[in-house]
Amino acid sequence: MSVVATFSIEYQRYLDPEGRLVEDDLPPFARDDEALVELYRHMSYTRSFDSKAVALQRTGKLGTYASCLGHEATHVGVASAMQYDDVMAVSYREIGAMLHRGVKPREILMYWGGDERGSDWSGPAHDFPICVPISTQCLHAAGSALAFKLRGEPRVAVAFCGDGGSSKADFYAALNAAGAYQLPLVLVVVNNQWAISVPRSAQTGAQTLAQKGIAGGLDCVQVDGNDLIAVRAATEYAIARARNGHGGSVIEAVTYRLSDHTTADDARRYRDEAEVKAAWEQEPMRRLRSYLSEKGLWSDSQEQAWKETCAKRVDEEVNAYLASEAPPLSDMFDYTYAEPPLDLVQQRAELLAGSKR
């Protein structure tokens, strides 16, 4: 009996919950003070927007919305490690990542407000829109990565999915494809401990979600998803590896869904308040702020000022969203095919005639 293969999963963290550095080898980006502050600003802007979106839903001005409260480090950490030409494939929750890529808050609101025009966005035209069927976006990213490889482009595809999403067929298929074709693909599993009401422990018997990548021969790592520096560092590494032709990775970012699943959910039905409270101790904003304050890079007054800036910007966006006119009814027909076939032309006419009556 001989051992033919061995594997291990590393856990990476730079900042502990109090914002104390627990590793010495700070990655270069984190040594750039201004850049680090900028990342903090992004996280903070994300949270500003997110709480506003929830409020809009509560007052009937938005449809169901999936909050990203607590995911800011993961979202900004990953997105900021990408280049513009890379492709991002999100689920529905990666608001912070989308904002970082240049999608406007008004566009995100439009989407959740039931308007397709929100996905015809100001972010990269090649990024994938919000994807509701769980983990199907992982294969879109894998297909994109295959396109890059076939065309010899030095681009990388990055997909997010959840802990729940890591159970889904499409996730395994994506990681298998990445391994089989040696694709420039980074799969970020955002392990926020819950898939609606199903806890991480019920999702799989695997000790870590990172190890799922072993099934496809990928590079696997688990990071503290509440630590911006760890997330960004791991993503940078995985992206560089992918860009250099060394294949795909799975990054498990361990974080916590501090909100309900969506505004249509009430998490108190199925999880302990104590658990949520404990999770707040780990949340990503505070620790980065402490770290920056400690280093003298960020002050209370800066915090105050930035929050106001965020609020103002978000308000402008909300107003733009609320002012948006309803799309023309014909839109329903005009994007089904490049050219509407005869039947659709007739049906469009029928609807337009009916709506005028």
Partner: protein, 327 residues
């Protein structure tokens, strides 16, 4: 006997059968502690435990395949697809196996499962949460495709579906989950599958529909009655196998038929009913058949969805058009 909503009737039927038959288990995403995202399985895990009400990892292929395996080994699994739009990864196991084990093994292995699918639009939900995709199942032999349209029928048809020895796709029109209440006795009385329900007698026109459009059709019939027009309203209830006799008899009497459904028109199940009329009722028809359906587009996000769904107004104009035609 309490007045309950359609979704409460579903819960009541589930509980009834779980008490009656201990091989019945409920399985799906969030069906346990959470009681389902719509609360269809609300409280069941508390009563029956987590060995009877089973949360699954997030993979519809898995849910379908496990369900097939459970059924093949003598359990009576009732799987939940969380929303209509997430049913596609289940099709392979349902079509290739659930629907086929009986014929494949000449009856040695069977697959008495129920797949509950919250179905249809009109609730201002996100993308993929509003699909009317019954036509994915209506061309599949070996399946029953059932859709209730009232609390009473939801209860009785679900009991039958669970007791049925073959696989049943049980669509639940979520738009009317809580639309109104009705007195339903928890008496274990099943309602027959494979038959259409005539909900309103009429002599001038037949409205044929299923699911949430039943309500629109009944309202349209009320409106027509104000004009002295008598519309018969048929709830198809079981789409496969179709009880065409009831529809034929009705059209023999009325001579006119409007078929109403949410799904896109082309290739929708309304076509089957219209086809049967073209085959078997041609001499009875006084006017061409009409279909009032979703357009041949995807149901849009909710800002426009009410422009997509059939409405009382659209049903009325089709009915009036039909009535204006002469044979």
């Amino acid at each position: 006997m309490a007045a309950i909503t359609l979704i409460e009737a579903v819960t009541m039927a589930l509980a009834h059968e779980m008490r009656r038959d201990e091989s019945v288990v409920v399985i799906g995403e969030d069906v346990g502690v959470n009681g389902g995202v719509f609360r269809a399985t609300n409280g069941l895990q508390k009563i029956f435990g987590d060995q009877r009400v089973i949360d699954t990892p997030l993979d519809e292929t898995m849910i379908a395949g496990l369900t097939v395996g459970l059924a093949a080994q003598g359990m009576k699994p009732i799987a939940e697809a969380q929303f209509d739009g997430f049913v596609y990864p289940m099709l392979d196991q349902i079509i290739c196996h659930a629907a086929r084990f009986r014929t494949r093994t000449r009856g040695r292995i069977t697959c008495p499962l129920v797949l509950r699918v919250p179905w249809g639009g009109g609730i201002r939900a996100p993308e993929h949460h509003s699909e009317a995709n019954e036509a994915m199942f209506t061309n599949v032999p070996g399946l029953r495709v059932v859709m209730p349209s009232s609390p009473h029928r939801a209860y009785g048809l679900l009991l039958s579906a669970i007791r049925d020895p073959d696989p049943v796709i049980y669509f639940e029109p979520k738009r009317i989950y809580r639309q109104y209440k009705e007195e339903v006795a928890d008496d274990g009385e099943a309602l027959p599958l494979d038959v259409c329900y005539v909900l309103r007698d009429g002599s001038d026109l037949t409205l044929v529909t299923w699911g949430s459009q039943v309500k629109e059709c009944l309202e349209a019939a009320d409106k027509l009655a104000e004009d002295g027009i008598s519309a018969e309203v048929i709830d198809v209830a079981t789409l496969r196998p179709l009880d065409f006799d009831t529809i034929r008899d009705s059209v023999k009497k009325t001579g006119r038929c409007v078929i109403v459904h949410e799904a896109p028109r082309s290739g929708g199940f309304g076509a089957e009913i219209a086809a049967r009329l073209a085959e078997e009722s041609m001499y009875d028809l006084l006017a061409p058949v009409e279909r009032v359906t979703g357009w041949d587009t995807h149901i849009p996000l909710f800002r426009m969805e009410m422009n997509y769904l059939p409405s009382v107004a659209r049903i009325l104009s089709a009915a009036r058009r039909t009535l204006a035609r002469s044979a």
